[in-house]
């Protein structure tokens, strides 16, 4: 914590979404994500606190990427609430990918409540340098 230049963190309210037709009524939240792209791959980082790898579902279908994370109740049933500032629920977010992804090489890594999803671009989607021949 010697770094004095780093800024203070601000509170971000969890953003609740309305997904129609739930069998189990519980709030659903949108996880905060970072998405960045290099020439070879797209990387997605998502904050999913409390989600275990068993409860995380990543689905890529027709270039629509769906993240669903379930939370298991972690409170003992005999606990009484004294102060509740945040609510806990499922995570859900969908993205449409504009690039062609090599589905076999997708890597997902979940650690400390952060998902790191690496989506390598398919060969034909990578930019190719075209050589111009003089003549």
């Amino acid at each position: 914590m010697a770094d004095t230049t780093s800024k203070e963190m601000q509170v971000k309210e969890k953003h609740e979404v309305n997904k129609p037709e739930q069998t189990r009524p519980a709030p659903i939240f949108t996880p905060a994500v970072d998405i960045f792209e290099t020439d070879t791959e797209i990387t997605l980082l998502a904050d999913l606190p409390g989600v275990t790898s068993d409860n995380l579902n990543i689905d890529l279908n027709d270039s629509v990427l769906t993240l669903t994370g379930d939370i298991e109740p972690f409170e003992n049933p005999d606990e009484e609430d004294l102060m509740i500032e945040y609510e806990v629920g499922q995570y859900y977010r969908q993205f449409t990918l504009s690039e062609i992804i090599d589905q076999n090489k997708i890597e997902a890594n979940l650690g400390d409540g952060v998902l790191r999803l690496t989506l390598p671009k398919a060969e034909k989607a990578k930019p190719r340098k075209i050589e111009v021949k003089a003549g």
């Binding site: 970072d34 960045f36 999913l48 606190p49 409390g50 409170e75 005999d78 509740i84």
Partner: protein
């Protein structure tokens, strides 16, 4: 109220607007009362991280969502019945050539203190950080625990 007094010209229609607002407020109040939620949700102190505090017979449980925070970067201190949580969330430097499409995750320092409603046994506090969820288990002091009185 002063505003409604000074701007209370019927021709300007101010009054009706205020009445409308009042009516809406009453409706919202009624809705809130109807739901009868057991826990009162604190609108938020605006200080990161947001905390949930629960209790059972023996312990207080303080929970916070801290995804991506390493336990080495987290510091928890307890004095009397105050608990303070401070630390830093560091996001690893990404490839320089990467183009960002979305950047919603924050990094930075944080520090928060909370006073517990009862006496605690500060020697026996334990904390765990799993899957980005911090749980601090704070045992209540013997004198603060509820006691069952035997009737002879």
């Amino acid at each position: 109220m002063i505003t409604s007094r000074f701007f209370d010209f019927p021709t300007l229609g101010w009054r009706s607007h205020f009445d409308e607002l009042d009516r809406m407020r009453q409706q919202i109040d009624r809705l809130m009362n109807d739901t009868e939620r057991q826990t009162f949700r604190v609108p938020g102190t605006g200080v990161f991280p947001l905390l949930n505090l629960t209790e059972d017979k023996d312990n207080y449980y303080l929970r916070a969502e801290l995804p991506g925070v390493k336990s080495d970067d987290l510091e928890i201190n307890a004095t009397n019945s105050n608990i303070s949580i401070s630390g830093e969330r560091k996001l690893p430097e990404e490839n320089k050539g990467a183009r960002f499409h979305r950047r919603e995750r924050d990094s930075g320092r944080f520090s928060r203190a909370i006073t517990l409603p009862g006496k605690i046994d500060s020697d026996k506090i334990s904390a765990s950080l799993t899957n980005g969820m911090l749980t601090v288990t704070i045992p209540k002091a013997e004198s603060a625990k509820p006691r069952q009185i035997q009737i002879h």
